[in-house]
């Protein structure tokens, strides 16, 4: 078992240095188009890779998760706020799971 405090130290120091070194040491902006483009796409690629398909196994059932996913995609498409999207997806998962319970008890 790895030490949790070592993990946290690595995370905190790495993240801080990424933020601090350029601000304190460097005095000019990156001009290289490839690097700029690469860094622009990183958050989207990382968040997308973390979201799908992981979302499908995040709840008790893949069906409720898929419904939650669909809800979040549709509301995001219509540019609803972060909180609205997140809570609506939760609400749909909750309702679908309760409905599945009722159906399976018949």
């Amino acid at each position: 078992m790895k030490n949790i405090y070592v993990y946290i130290l690595i995370m905190a120091v790495t993240t801080y240095l990424i933020r601090m070194l350029p601000l304190v040491l460097v005095r000019k902006e990156i001009k290289n188009v490839f690097i700029r483009s690469f860094l622009t796409y990183v958050p989207y690629a990382a968040l997308a890779a973390m979201t799908f398909p992981a979302i499908l196994s995040s709840t008790d059932s893949v069906i409720s998760a898929a419904c939650g996913f669909a809800t979040a995609v549709i509301l995001s498409y219509f540019e609803k706020s972060l909180i609205t999207v997140a809570l609506s997806a939760c609400g749909v998962v909750f309702l679908v799971e309760r409905a599945m319970e009722i159906i399976s008890n018949f």
Binding site: R36, L39, P43, A46, T51, F69, T71, V85, A86
Partner: protein, 241 residues
């Protein structure tokens, strides 16, 4: 009122909506951390020392899988590398009189949102403006984590199951609106999801840990899209935390 105080107050004002947003996001982070078996105090410590949603969230799976320390370093480096770009951009924006200790303190609060308000501010930015924004944003982030982690422990299983999609919902709300406007981002999102699916379901590929998968997919997709659709605008602003 002195100029420093004025700048600080201005920062606090602009930081309030950021703090509220952070509260919501970190609440879901806290719940996810508890779900991964991480103690509440540790979750709070992670949030207080890192202040980055994507990086912290990626770290959860590494900790849960007992992944290597180098993998943790690499993951944070790749996912948080964009802050390097923001800090570089901020060097042009901070008051010339800013001292090195001041800049070192400002660095801790370089998040997508705080960078966003600093970059949008007219003229040179005082470090005290950033301190002000950080003084509300950071407590929002830490408190949200604590309450989220606590809810993860206290709420009944049926609520936890439903609330588990919250963080993914937020991620989707961050990436989909810009993907709608910019087809290059749409390509990046779809390609990343497709590749992540390959790593989750295909034989051999699914033996790769999820922490490593995130690095491989992120680097590969960002490089491919950067080659086929280089960015021409000068604004390096990201959208998530």
């Amino acid at each position: 009122m002195t100029d420093k105080k004025q700048q600080f107050t201005h920062g606090v004002k602009d930081g309030i909506p950021i703090g509220l947003g952070y509260f919501a996001v970190s609440f879901t982070f806290g719940m996810a951390a508890t779900k991964n078996g991480i103690p509440i105090g540790i979750s709070v410590l992670i949030s207080a020392t890192n202040l980055t949603s994507a990086g912290q969230f990626a770290a959860l799976s590494i900790i849960a899988e007992n992944g290597g320390y180098f993998l943790m370093f690499l993951t944070q480096l790749v996912i948080n590398l964009r802050y390097c770009l923001m800090s570089l951009s901020l060097t042009q924006k901070m008051e010339r009189t800013s001292t090195i200790p001041q800049l070192m303190l400002v660095s801790f609060g370089v998040t997508d949102e705080i960078f966003g308000i600093s970059a949008a501010k007219e003229g040179a930015v005082s470090p005290f403006y950033n301190y002000g924004a950080m003084s509300v944003a950071i407590p929002g982030w830490v408190l949200g984590t604590f309450l989220g982690a606590l809810s993860g422990k206290l709420l009944p299983a049926m609520f936890i199951s439903a609330l588990s999609v919250a963080i993914y919902g937020m991620f989707l709300a961050i990436i989909i609106p810009p993907a709608k406007k910019d087809s290059a981002i749409l390509i990046a999102v779809l390609l990343a999801m497709a590749l992540a699916s390959c790593f989750t379901y295909l034989p051999v590929l699914k033996t790769v840990s999820s922490g490593m998968m995130i690095i491989i997919v992120t680097v590969l997709v960002s490089a491919i899209v950067a080659l086929i659709r280089p960015v021409t605008v000068t604004d390096p602003e990201g959208e998530d935390l």
